[in-house]
């Protein structure tokens, strides 16, 4: 009689153990599926954040030349579309600490196309003979740049005569790669 009771209890314990393991396995399975979904969701979220950043750069570059910090206004005669004031941009470059997060992009630069001065970075000293004005450059991973053609104008002088000098250039904007 006693032996019978012990044997029944062991069987029951075994069943409970089996069920506990089964439940743990089911729980673990669902936790793992959940984690997989979360990882997938976050990677999609990062991707859409990068896409939005790219869209921002694309839409921004078409209008950035006309924003107050860049545009020529009437400094070179009448109002012109996609005309960037190089003198003003050089001064903006010197005040970039304040503007670092202003446009929400990682890099803004102006690359002269003609005359081509290759990759010579512009500063106050070589301003007349340089090729690239690097306005903003953050130390982050960047997406390929979006660009727009502009006319880059500045005041120059020849034999005490002041004149407007305009060159063909490319305004390039890159956003941060968040993937």
């Amino acid at each position: 009689m006693n032996l019978q009771i012990v044997s029944y209890g062991k069987k029951g314990q075994l069943k409970i153990q089996q069920m506990a393991f089964m439940l743990m396995a089911v729980t673990l399975f669902f936790v793992m599926v959940g984690m997989f979904l979360l990882v997938l969701m976050f990677s999609q979220l990062r991707e859409s954040a990068s896409l939005l950043e790219e869209k921002n750069a694309l839409l921004l570059v078409t209008k950035l030349a006309n924003s107050p910090e860049f545009s020529c206004g009437e400094a070179f005669g009448s109002n012109r579309i996609n005309c960037v004031d190089a003198d003003k941009v050089m001064m903006l470059k010197g005040n970039m600490e304040e503007y670092s997060g202003f446009w929400g992009v990682a890099k803004i630069e102006i690359r002269k196309i003609y005359p081509d001065n290759e990759n010579v970075l512009c500063d106050g000293g070589n301003y007349d003979n340089c090729g690239v004005i690097e306005i903003l450059s953050k130390n982050v991973n960047m997406l390929p740049p979006s660009s727009n053609y502009i006319s880059l104008c500045r005041k120059d002088s020849y034999e005490d005569e002041i004149y407007d000098k305009c060159e063909l250039a490319l305004l390039m904007v890159s956003s941060e790669d968040k993937t």
């Binding site: 859409s48 939005l52 003198d87 002041i162």
Partner: protein
């Protein structure tokens, strides 16, 4: 014996039921959280998209331009403004109707280079965005006025230039007196007892929430379409940008003087006054400096802007 047997449930069953219920509760909790985070993600994404879509509204020659955007569902755009920092921040929060309830959101999408003038809470499916450049005396920014299409404004006795502008904009919800209905929000210029009263010569707008002062038509529209708090905060942000632009123009004037291009403008005074603006009632004192600088730049040897 029978009644005892009827109530008998083995320990295995009790254990299974408890753990099963626990798993079910956990699954329901996770699903709810997942839906909540999806709603939050969607709100943040929509907010960012709204801000990005405003980029093409940057004006070049135009005195104003108008566009609209339509949301897939009823949407509330919360317009928040933060004047702290170098340029302050334009903050957008989006809440959308889902299963007949408004999604809760605490995600702020912020932009430093946007200036949106609207009610603190704009609700609708279709929104008009009307943008206009603000010059003080140089171009400072493009102001965006976001108005739900269902909200109609009626301009009563406006000055000729405002009447022409409203007519040219052809925006469905900005109407002139002859097209108005009784339900429209009336904006009276000069005398009248309307929801919004504009004293064009005194340069102020009076509404339920108080009086705001303006300089120029761009700020007048801002005063009409925005709540007082939003207007005052955005004005401070605009003056912060004016301050920084004035410093850039001052540096430019020194830089171009090396080739004999002289322009002696009091930009430092403008920068200081703009940076210290506390509210719209200080605007007229800055305007005196602005008018002086504007005249000097117009007749300068080398125009700075």
């Amino acid at each position: 014996m029978n009644s005892r047997g009827y109530l008998q449930i083995s320990f295995a069953w009790i254990f299974a039921i408890i753990v099963g219920v626990f798993i079910l509760i956990l699954a329901i909790y996770a699903t709810t959280k997942f839906i909540g985070s999806e709603e939050t993600t969607l709100s943040a994404k929509t907010g960012k998209e709204v801000g990005i879509l405003l980029n093409p509204l940057e004006t070049s020659f135009e005195s104003a331009q108008v566009t609209f955007f339509t949301m897939p569902v009823e949407t509330r755009i919360y317009n928040k403004c933060d004047d702290f920092g170098e340029f302050g921040k334009q903050i957008i929060q989006i809440s959308q109707k889902s299963f007949n309830r408004w999604t809760e959101t605490d995600i702020d999408v912020s932009f430093e280079n946007k200036y949106i003038f609207s009610d603190k809470e704009a609700e609708g499916k279709k929104f008009y965005v009307f943008s206009k450049p603000f010059e003080f005396p140089f171009k400072v920014a493009d102001l965006m006025y976001i108005i739900p299409s269902a909200k109609k404004y009626c301009f009563v006795n406006p000055p000729v230039e405002i009447e022409e502008e409203i007519d040219n904009l052809n925006q469905d919800n900005l109407l002139l007196e002859e097209d108005c209905s009784n339900n429209d929000i009336k904006i009276c210029f000069g005398s009248g007892n309307c929801e919004i009263n504009v004293n064009y010569n005194g340069k102020y707008v009076e509404k339920d929430d108080g009086r705001i002062y303006f300089e120029g038509d761009t700020l007048m529209y801002a005063g009409i379409f925005a709540d007082k708090d939003v207007y005052e905060c955005q004005l401070i942000r605009l003056m912060k940008r004016t301050k920084n632009l004035a410093l850039i123009y001052r540096d430019k004037s020194i830089f171009v003087s090396r080739i004999g291009c002289y322009s002696d403008l009091n930009l430092l005074a403008l920068s200081n006054s703009a940076g210290n603006l506390k509210g719209s009632d200080d605007l007229s004192s800055i305007n005196n400096i602005v008018e002086e600088i504007e005249g000097e730049n117009e007749f300068a040897n080398c125009k700075l802007w």
